[in-house]
């Protein structure tokens, strides 16, 4: 028997509200199945279960707003008889008199001994209360108290740090922003403050000629129906994913000072929301997908992000992030890494520029490409090679 707990769907999530169950007791689920829809500050998220088994019982009601780590449902593991299925039906037989022969005994379901409770993080009650008041994410705090307990002091320190960088939320005259946007602003502030506090960023930038990519894209799209057209962003994403595969120190998670490279590349795409705020959900296995799939995936991701309907893994699994602020006309992005990731790739606005190639000066589209990377994991030299590889890939668009 195991409990499935509300997972943190990203470093900046500390609680969620159950919107609906997608399973009921007795359902057989396998790893990756969506079991519930949970509302977070970012989106209504389809929560995927981590293990397979039979749903024993549901521990939350729709509407419950609970911290990350709260048990959501009990699962009879594979091979373990679920009591839901085997429980003898109550009062199924007419009650027998004391004198009659004893009813045939139904073998009681075998209960596995409950697994030892996982060691709970030490967070003092007062620290929890304070964190809730201040909107500080306890998952991101390192405890400095005895036995590494998180104390009020840790919370206050984190609270002070995040309020220091949180931008003013509502501009004068702007429409009142929704509660979700305000909560999202807080979570972004907390995540970015943590990033700037903990991650020793280094920044690199280069210019990438886009003539070949632009021409290739124009030719390709000319042959395609409107619905199958590809955006330059898809090329950027694919090139970045392939380069990340080759330079694994850009692709993975750094937690507590230990870097874990990931073999799969899930590019998180920064998607701004119209009402303000930002989400960077993952395009899963980006490096192995053809461009058409990436484009379809991107279209779908943007739509679902803006509809606040994302899957849990899309929020928790990006292995590096790409931001494409060029849409808004800026030339160069110097990004803030989204922890626990270790790299953020930025594309600026493609503009036509004078470009020297060999001995000729020509006017071609050029985009600035930048990298913010974690110095605990990589050095500028590797970062430079990584950017050079993206540039190179964009010169061979037909191979993407």
């Amino acid at each position: 028997m195991s409990e499935f707990k509300l997972p943190s769907l990203g470093a900046d999530m500390d609680r969620g509200r159950l919107l609906e169950w997608r399973v009921k007791p007795g359902d057989v689920v396998k790893k990756g199945d969506v079991v519930a829809v949970v509302d977070t500050t970012k989106a209504a998220i389809d929560v995927e279960i981590w293990s397979s088994g039979t749903v024993q019982d549901l521990l939350l009601q729709p509407g419950d707003d609970v911290p990350v780590g709260t048990p959501m449902l009990r699962l009879a593991d594979d091979g373990e008889p679920a009591t839901v299925a085997t429980q003898p039906p109550r009062m199924s037989a007419p009650p027998q008199t004391l004198m009659s022969a004893p009813a045939p005994r139904v073998a009681p379901p075998a209960h596995a001994a409950p697994p030892p409770a996982a060691a709970r993080r030490r967070i003092s009650p007062a620290a929890r209360k304070r964190a809730e008041e201040l909107g500080v994410d306890l998952n991101k705090l390192t405890g400095t108290g005895p036995d590494a307990a998180v104390t009020i002091e840790d919370v206050l320190r984190a609270g002070a740090a995040s309020t220091a960088v949180a931008p003013p939320i509502a501009a004068v005259g702007a429409a009142p922003i929704s509660e979700r946007a305000s909560a999202m602003r807080q979570t972004i502030a907390a995540a970015m403050a943590r990033s700037k506090r903990e991650i020793p960023h280094y920044y690199l930038a280069t210019e990438v000629p886009l003539e070949r990519a632009t021409d290739w894209l124009a030719r390709a799209n000319a042959e395609r129906p409107v619905t199958a057209r590809i955006l330059m962003a898809a090329l950027f994403i694919k090139a970045t994913a392939l380069a990340a595969h080759k330079y694994p120190e850009m692709n993975g998670f750094c937690r507590d000072g230990t870097f874990e490279a990931r073999s799969d590349v899930n590019v998180g795409v920064a998607i701004s929301l119209r009402q303000g705020g930002l989400v960077a959900p993952a395009l899963m296995n980006t490096d192995s997908k053809p461009l058409d799939d990436i484009m379809r995936g991107l279209t779908d991701l943007v739509k679902r992000t803006r509809a606040f309907s994302l899957r849990a893994s899309e929020l928790s699994e990006p292995t590096l992030t790409l931001t494409n602020l060029g849409e808004q006309g800026v030339e160069l992005v110097q990004g803030v890494i989204y922890p626990p990731q270790v790299a953020l790739v930025g594309f600026g606005k493609p503009t036509r520029r004078a470009w020297v190639e060999g001995n000729t000066l020509r006017l071609i589209p050029v985009v600035s490409l930048s990298l913010a990377a974690d110095h605990r994991v990589s050095d500028g030299h590797r970062g430079a090679l990584f950017l050079a590889h993206i540039r190179e890939l964009l010169q061979q668009p037909d191979t993407l």
Binding site: A222, V226, R274, T299, V302
Partner: protein
């Protein structure tokens, strides 16, 4: 096709992409994408939406002509007339 109908269709498609936008408040002669904050994905979705409703093919090479709301209305009305 009546430009007013085209305009209505544009408003409907735009509402699915940028629900907060009121077409009446826009300057019909100024660049649309700047006023409505449409990125390339939004713009593509607008084109796809118009294509689906009006059955009009809009080649990418024509994007450059579709700057303002008036441009778009005129372009689509002309195409629909054919």
């Amino acid at each position: 096709m009546d430009p007013a109908e085209v305009r209505t269709t544009i408003a409907q498609v735009l509402a699915t992409i940028a629900p907060e936008v009121d077409l009446e408040t826009l300057d019909a002669r100024a660049p649309l994408r700047d006023q409505v904050d449409l990125d390339s994905m939004d713009f593509l979705n607008l084109i796809v939406g118009l294509h689906e409703r009006l059955q009009i093919d809009i080649p990418e090479s024509d994007y450059a002509r579709l700057v303002s709301l008036d441009d778009l209305v005129a372009y689509l009305a002309a195409k629909a007339a054919r």
